[in-house]
């Protein structure tokens, strides 16, 4: 039951009676005894009248709200109050939200696996898209009994081919977030949507031309919303729209630039502070990573080479063959030097004393670029000066890359490009001048995110009425007059464009859990048909397009169905052939680097909570961030040398100040960070994020200003106190390499030296080494699996004769980019519990798959090796032998299974696991109480209780599903039919799962590859998960850089 769904029929009611309602908020709480007393002596008709009167007292309303928070909104509305009383009984019977789901009223169409009707237990798949400011992520959502339970990339979409990212995965939990705002509110009082519409529409109509009506929106990604805005603007020409996307404001991506790179066509990739590998923050992440990784899968056929020039430690730099550490302000100057050396005209690089290493790097890079014209690509950083973009594109143009590896078009993902920093500045100026009557904030939280120098909270108070549309009662929602609970994208209709321009319709998977509204509804309320649903609006945008589009067959309705079914509109991709002119000359100015003594503070969106919007998503909070393995916090990420200079240790507190802002943060060491600079991530320090995110980390927006949104010169100093952070891997700073047997270098990480050296966990070769010795991964017998004859017992027969299927997985270390999408996907698929910061800190994080990061060489400039580690499904599993109750067993197909019901929790299996991939429920970590989270769980996977061991099962539920299907159709399981959750999410396609007894399967072929190796095989575990050793395509001219190589190598 969802009484809020009746809102559409609500009469508008009277104008809001503020004063009266404000007055009624006080009073004593109501008790049953008091109700009895009040009703005593009343009978019959009079009794009913008294009850009615009673029902109108504020105490009673408060009592109702306490009891039925979702319905309290109904209560203030006299008409629907009656319907509420009618349905109340039913609600009680259904006991909470779990009984309340229903499909959206409009027709949505199931994807490929379409049963005739809903078959309970049979999931359905729907295509939709995650609207993201840098471009939509096309999705395929698994829906079980009309509850979305798993988000994955749309496998048929040309953009991401099924790949996803942790953020998109996390939006599922964001939708079921129990702390989402559930009502329309006016000054803290619950109101109906209708009342808001009436007040809003009335006010705007009274202005005639929209004077004093301001909209502050997150970047508009929906073409329909843009169309609606244009309609509003036509009607009210003086209404103003300001877009402000905290993580992107000021970047070239928001300024109407659309550039697509083709990392697959380029042999030489140059990242100029462009972190295109870390995550969705860089436009086109999925596509860029997939194409990049594809060129690394067959080193024998040649590979690309990645140069990364970067100002913070990112996975892009860690994956790069050659990484150059520069301070953020040096990068424009370096790019200018590069442009000049390549031959771009009009460049005047600022004078700077580059070090020998930097000069050598530049020279080698220039040589390599010139040797590969038309086969290279330079990618400019988002969080860099505009000159870096212009210079990079000029170099691309000069090298003939435009039209081959880089494509520029005038269309953009963002339909209303604007200079957002200028926009918000002018808004603040108007606010201060008292020009703003109504400030309507759409999916925006400016109180938290606005640049510090604008002093937005003070200006905000000058707005006569502030309206906040948001998913939570966040920092802005708390103080806005009106708050409208917004609908999640999985709950509402919309549309958006992917990086390549393809339009996707955002179809809702579920009716809004709390009756939320979207920005479409807010803008529509000003137009001629105020109650026109988002569905109709979106259709109105695209039906004409579909009608004209000859690529969509059949009539318009059929076309619409196909669009929803496929998840995109055919033929809407940006035209790659229409070359926009890109000049080979440069006209701007290049800022000079800051002095080497100045401390630089670099601002980046947090890899998981982004600009703070996902602060309340437990998965994203908990999953350790790439490189740092930090969870639940942001920190002052700094190089070891700065830590030494400040005379601090990790977890000490430092105070950073930029301009007038000051902020305190814990010290976290970041290997390979440029000297004298500190990276801080935005998105933390939320005050009103919800039960998960509130109070975590520190708010870096407080030191971020409009004049330096990406990096600033500031100061730093130690302050007293300690700030414990949860870093989930062994702590490299504590264990320097010279510790054991004096091997390695004292500046190295002991873990890295061990893993790369005597333990043979990471094995790699340079291209030359690989060519001269393709079998490098198996050098030295000590890593090899002992012969099968060493045991007295008969070996279990896993051959083709014995078992049809023998499951195996191959992970290509050359492709893996450490983006964490697999981890997030695993959390969603396997109902993995979130344990919280304190538990994560002491090593109890529950992730079944993790990315092990090993640093090779000097920690000041290391190379990192990222290794996804999950249950290896050993054929001779050490864990099975030691379980006293037989709770972990082996299947004939080679799976190492956990029987949760049987597990008593001795944890011996975990002790005996060489890979330490087993996870134990030390406490009751699974949330058994929150109703909304129950809806989200995968019904095919047990929710584990306290005291039970768990671990990766190769997604056995998916294997079983495929086996049942194959059995029904009387055929063997096809290769690729079973896709594990981690494999499905991987944007780089680094994980391959399949049947090793099928000699034609992908996984069998990969296992026969020379690069294939097993980790810790000398323990005779015979793991089914194998790894493909890395090959680095180094530039011979830069190869001798001493600190990039340690003597230890697999």
């Amino acid at each position: 039951m969802n009484p809020a769904a009746n809102n559409a029929e609500d009469p508008m009611g009277n104008a809001v009676k503020n004063e009266k309602d404000m007055a009624t908020t006080s009073g004593t709480p109501m008790t049953l005894a008091q109700v009895r007393k009040d009703l005593k002596g009343t009978r019959g008709k009079k009794f009913w009248r008294s009850l009615d009167e009673l029902a109108d007292t504020p105490e009673f309303r408060a009592a109702v709200e306490k009891e039925f928070p979702t319905a309290a909104q109904e209560w203030v509305d006299p008409v629907s109050r009656r319907s509420f009383l009618k349905v109340m009984g039913a609600s009680l019977a259904l006991a909470g939200l779990a009984g309340c789901t229903k499909q959206p009223e409009e027709k949505i169409y199931p994807y490929v696996k379409a049963p005739e009707d809903l078959v309970l237990g049979e999931p359905m798949y729907f295509a939709t898209a995650h609207p993201f400011p840098t471009g939509a992520v096309p999705l395929l959502v698994k829906s079980s009994e009309f509850r979305p339970i798993k988000i994955d990339g749309n496998p048929e979409h040309a953009y991401n081919k099924g790949g996803s990212d942790p953020l998109s995965q996390g939006t599922l939990l964001a939708m079921y977030d129990p702390d989402r705002s559930q009502h329309v509110r006016y000054r803290g009082e619950n109101r109906s949507w209708g009342e808001f519409v009436e007040a809003f529409r009335g006010k705007v109509a009274s202005t005639k031309d929209g004077t004093g009506i301001y909209f502050l929106s997150a970047t508009i990604t929906s073409p329909t919303l843009a169309r609606q805005w244009k309609a509003v603007q036509a009607q009210y020409p003086k209404a103003k729209l300001v877009q402000y996307e905290p993580a992107l404001a000021g970047t070239w991506a928001e300024q109407g630039i659309n550039v697509q790179f083709d990392t697959g066509a380029a042999d030489i990739l140059v990242s100029l502070d462009a972190d295109f590998i870390s995550g969705a923050a860089y436009p086109g992440f999925h596509r860029l990573v997939r194409d990049y990784a594809n060129r690394r899968k067959h080193p024998e056929k040649g590979m690309n080479r990645l140069y990364a020039v970067e100002s913070s430690t990112t996975t892009t730099g860690m994956k790069a063959e050659h990484r150059l550490l520069l301070r953020a302000s040096e990068i424009p100057a370096f790019t200018a030097e590069l442009a000049k050396a390549v031959g771009v005209t009009g460049v005047n690089p600022p004078a700077y004393d580059w070090t020998g290493e930097q000069k050598a790097y530049l020279a080698a890079l220039v040589k390599d670029l010139k040797a590969n014209p038309g086969k290279s690509v330079l990618m400019p950083g988002l969080y860099q000066d505009r000159s870096v973009y212009d210079l990079a594109m000029a170099i691309n143009a000069l090298l003939g890359n435009i039209g081959k590896t880089a494509f520029v078009s005038r269309d953009t993902v963002n339909p209303i490009p604007s200079d957002q920093l200028a926009g918000i500045k002018s808004l603040v100026a108007d606010l201060k001048a008292g020009k703003v009557d109504w400030l309507v904030m759409l999916d925006s939280n400016p109180i938290y995110t606005a640049p510090a120098d604008l002093d937005f909270p003070t200006a905000f108070n000058k707005a006569k009425v502030a309206v906040h549309l948001g998913s939570h009662l966040d920092e802005t929602g708390q103080i806005a007059h009106w708050h409208i609970n917004s609908a999640h994208y999985l709950e509402s209709w919309s549309d958006c464009r992917a990086y390549d321009g393809t339009v996707s319709i955002v179809q809702p998977m579920i009716a809004p859990l709390y009756g939320g509204k979207s920005a479409h509804d807010v803008l529509q309320s000003l137009l001629n048909e105020p109650m026109l649903s988002a569905y109709e609006t979106v259709r109105a945008t695209w039906l004409p397009v579909i009608k004209k589009n000859e690529k969509v067959p059949g009539d318009v309705e059929m076309g619409w169905r196909k669009v929803l079914h496929d998840g995109w509109i055919e033929g809407t991709a940006f035209d790659k052939t229409a070359k926009a002119t890109v000049e080979t000359a440069f006209h701007g100015t290049v800022p000079a680097p800051a002095s080497r003594d100045a401390l630089e503070i670099i601002f980046r969106p947090e890899p998981h909570v982004y600009d703070g919007r996902w602060a309340n998503v437990g998965w994203l909070q908990e999953i350790p961030r790439p490189v740092t393995n930090l969870s639940w916090d942001n920190g002052a990420l700094m190089p070891g040398a700065l830590i030494t200079r400040l005379n601090v240790v990790e977890e000490d507190i430092v105070e950073m100040s930029v301009g007038g802002g000051k902020v305190k943060a814990p010290v976290v060491a970041m290997p390979g960070h440029p000297q004298n600079s500190v990276t801080v991530y935005l998105g933390y320090g939320r005050e009103f994020a919800g039960r998960v995110g509130s109070g975590m980390g520190f708010n870096a927006y407080l030191i971020r200003n409009t004049w330096a949104p990406f990096y600033a010169t500031g100061s730093i100093g130690k302050v007293p106190g300690k700030w414990g952070v949860a870093i989930t891997k062994s702590h490299y700073q504590d264990h320097r390499g010279k510790e054991f047997g004096q091997q390695g270098n004292g500046d190295n990480s002991l873990e890295g030296d061990e893993a790369l050296g005597p333990r043979g966990i990471i094995r790699y070769a340079t291209m030359e080494e690989f060519k001269s010795n393709p079998d490098f991964a198996h050098e030295g017998v000590r890593y090899d699996t002992p012969s099968k004859d060493t045991t007295l017992f008969p070996n279990w027969d896993y051959s083709k004769q014995a078992t049809e299927n023998a499951w195996a997985m191959s992970i290509d270390m050359n492709s893996c980019v450490g983006c964490n999408a697999c981890i997030a996907s695993c959390y969603a698929e396997n109902n993995i519990a979130v344990v919280g910061k304190q538990q994560a800190r002491i090593g109890r994080i529950m992730q079944w798959i993790r990315i092990d990061t090993y640093f090779e060489g000097d920690l000041a400039a290391p190379r990192a090796h990222m290794q996804p580690m999950l249950c290896q499904q050993c054929e001779d599993a050490p864990c099975e032998l030691v379980c006293p109750v037989g709770a972990t067993l082996h299947t004939p197909e080679g799976l190492n299974m956990m029987v949760y019901n049987r597990c008593v929790g001795t944890r011996f299996c975990s002790n005996n696991c060489p890979y330490k991939v087993r996870r134990f429920n030390f406490l009751l970590y699974s949330d058994y109480d929150t109703p909304s989270l129950k809806l989200m769980r995968n019904p095919d996977v047990t929710v584990r209780s306290r005291g039970v061991m768990e671990k990766c099962s190769y997604c056995v539920q998916r294997i079983q599903e495929a086996k049942i299907k194959a059995d029904k159709e009387n055929r063997p399981i096809r290769d690729g039919e079973i896709v594990t959750a981690c494999q499905q999410a991987c944007p780089a396609d680094a994980i391959v799962f399949g049947n090793k007894n099928d000699k034609t399967s992908r996984v069998s072929k990969l296992r026969e590859n020379q690069r294939n190796y097993q980790v810790i095989a000398d323990q005779n575990t015979r793991p089914r998960t194998t790894y493909m050793a890395e090959v680095l395509n180094l530039n011979p001219e830069l190869e001798e850089t001493p600190e990039e190589f340690s003597p230890a190598k697999g």
Partner: protein, 472 residues
């Protein structure tokens, strides 16, 4: 020191039998009986007893609080985590079981070897065994994630027809520990029957007559009783003797069977058994020295006993030292990186301090001082040393379990361990429980076996000549 200089001390040889004296001369049958029964049958409990009983009771109560909280919340209240999934619980388990071993050794092996001196101390040593096994037995149950299902480790013919996994060392533990507990209790009780009859006979109150009478199971002291009693004792000693070796061997399999470097070693069984006896004798001393002082039992528990315990500790201490030496040697000799790293990490890693505590307490201090007869006969020194050795033995288990787990195969998964207050409460709680039970024992049961001590009196000895004549 100067042991070779010791002359044959007239006082130490019993002129009547020509054997070494165990108890001081001048004891009579009546005197011994009187002395031991009075301790129990007196209505006046010493105030000191109440004081220690109160402290121990508080410890036992603390254990109860810790256990209740543990059952409510789960094992996550302890410090265990990934990768160190075993912590105090298993350390304590192995420690307590080890302590128990001395009692069984004294009562069974020394009986078979006809070591008469054991008679004075075997009763409370056996009681120590039982209470130690009680404390130890708690831990396997407490440490499992779902203690209410702990019985699944037992081979019960349940309707589900699911059996435990017989290849798991934890399963073997179940058998080893339960057998050990059973044999120990039976042996202890059986040995006590003649004494219980004495107590029954000397009781003045109706209640104690009744209770001791029930416990004495109708013992009348007939020759037939005695004959059967002696046979049963020998049989039980025969059954218990292998247990001294097997129980800790099985416990060591919990580690030796695992693949973990630092655990996976064949030296563990003998080294664990020796360590168990080492710590057990230390515990015997920790109990005997205050007891003889407190209850004025110097005539029955003599310097000879303390001295002998010291010698056993010296011998087993050297076996333990050999074990440590072999671990270090194999780390180098095997040329196996896993072993080498683990050994290095034990000694010089982040938790290296615990290894040096262990070396100091188990090797450096005892193995240098126990050579000295003078020190072996210095009560204060021996008491302190016994505490030091048991501390060292606790750290031995800490090093084996925690340090090995903290850094194993995959460097990415290295971790650390920092005990919580609940860990300490549980550990010290079991110490409290142990002392609590032991004090009840000394108050209500004869702590020294009267019947057996009486056999050591000159009057009980049959002259060799007479014996030869009587022999058939």
């Amino acid at each position: 020191m100067a042991t070779s200089e010791v002359k044959i001390d007239e006082q130490r040889i019993d002129p009547a039998t020509g054997e070494y004296r165990v108890i001081t001369p001048g004891q009579t049958f009546r005197g011994v009986t009187e002395k031991i029964t009075r301790l129990v049958l007196t209505p006046h409990t010493p105030l000191g007893w109440f004081a220690i009983f109160g402290i121990a009771g508080a410890g036992a109560t603390m254990l109860m609080v810790a256990v209740v909280w543990l059952f409510l919340k789960g094992v996550g209240i302890w410090a265990i985590s990934q990768p160190v999934a075993w912590g105090f619980a298993i350390i304590n388990f192995v420690w307590w079981i080890g302590i128990g071993h001395a009692g069984t050794l004294i009562s069974a092996i020394l009986l078979l070897f006809k070591q008469g001196w054991r008679n004075s101390i075997n009763r409370f040593a056996e009681a120590m065994t039982i209470f130690a096994v009680v404390c130890a037995g708690l831990f396997p149950l407490l440490h499992v994630g779902r203690p209410w299902l702990g019985y699944w480790l037992l081979p019960l013919p349940l309707t589900m027809d699911v059996w435990p996994q017989f290849r798991s060392p934890l399963m073997w533990d179940c058998f080893a520990v339960s057998t050990y507990a059973t044999i120990s209790v039976v042996f202890w009780y059986l040995g006590m029957i003649p004494d219980l009859a004495t107590m029954r006979d000397r009781s003045k109150t109706r209640l104690s007559q009744y209770v001791y009478g029930m416990l004495a199971m109708g013992w009348r002291g007939s020759v037939r009783h005695w004959a059967r009693y002696e046979t049963a004792s020998l049989l039980l000693a025969g059954l218990a003797t292998p247990l001294v070796l097997s129980v800790h061997t099985v416990i060591s399999f919990d580690f030796a069977v695992a693949v973990l470097p630092g655990w996976h070693t064949t030296i563990f069984p003998p080294y664990f058994v020796a360590g168990a006896i080492y710590s057990g004798f230390a515990m015997v001393l920790s109990l005997a020295i205050p007891l003889r002082k407190f209850y004025h039992l110097e005539h029955l528990v003599t310097l000879r006993h303390i001295d002998n315990c010291g010698k056993v500790m010296l011998a087993t201490g050297f076996i333990v030292a050999y074990g440590y030496g072999m671990e270090a040697f194999m780390a180098w000799y095997s040329a196996d990186h896993w072993e080498a790293f683990t050994f290095w990490n034990r000694a010089f890693g982040p938790m290296g301090w615990s290894y040096w505590v262990l070396i100091t307490c188990n090797l450096a201090i005892p193995l240098t001082t126990l050579w000295s007869r003078k020190l072996r006969r210095n009560m204060l020194f021996m008491f302190i040393l016994s505490i030091i050795v048991n501390t060292g033995m606790w750290f031995e288990r800490f090093v084996i379990i925690v340090t090995s787990l903290s850094r194993d195969f995959l460097p990415s998964s290295w971790g650390t361990y920092r005990a919580t207050k609940w860990d300490y409460m549980t550990y010290f709680g079991t110490v409290g429980l142990f002392v609590f039970l032991f004090l009840l024992f000394v108050r209500f049961l004869p702590m020294i076996p009267m019947s057996e001590v009486r056999t050591m009196l000159p009057g009980a000895k049959i002259k060799p000549k007479v014996a030869a004549e009587a022999g058939d």
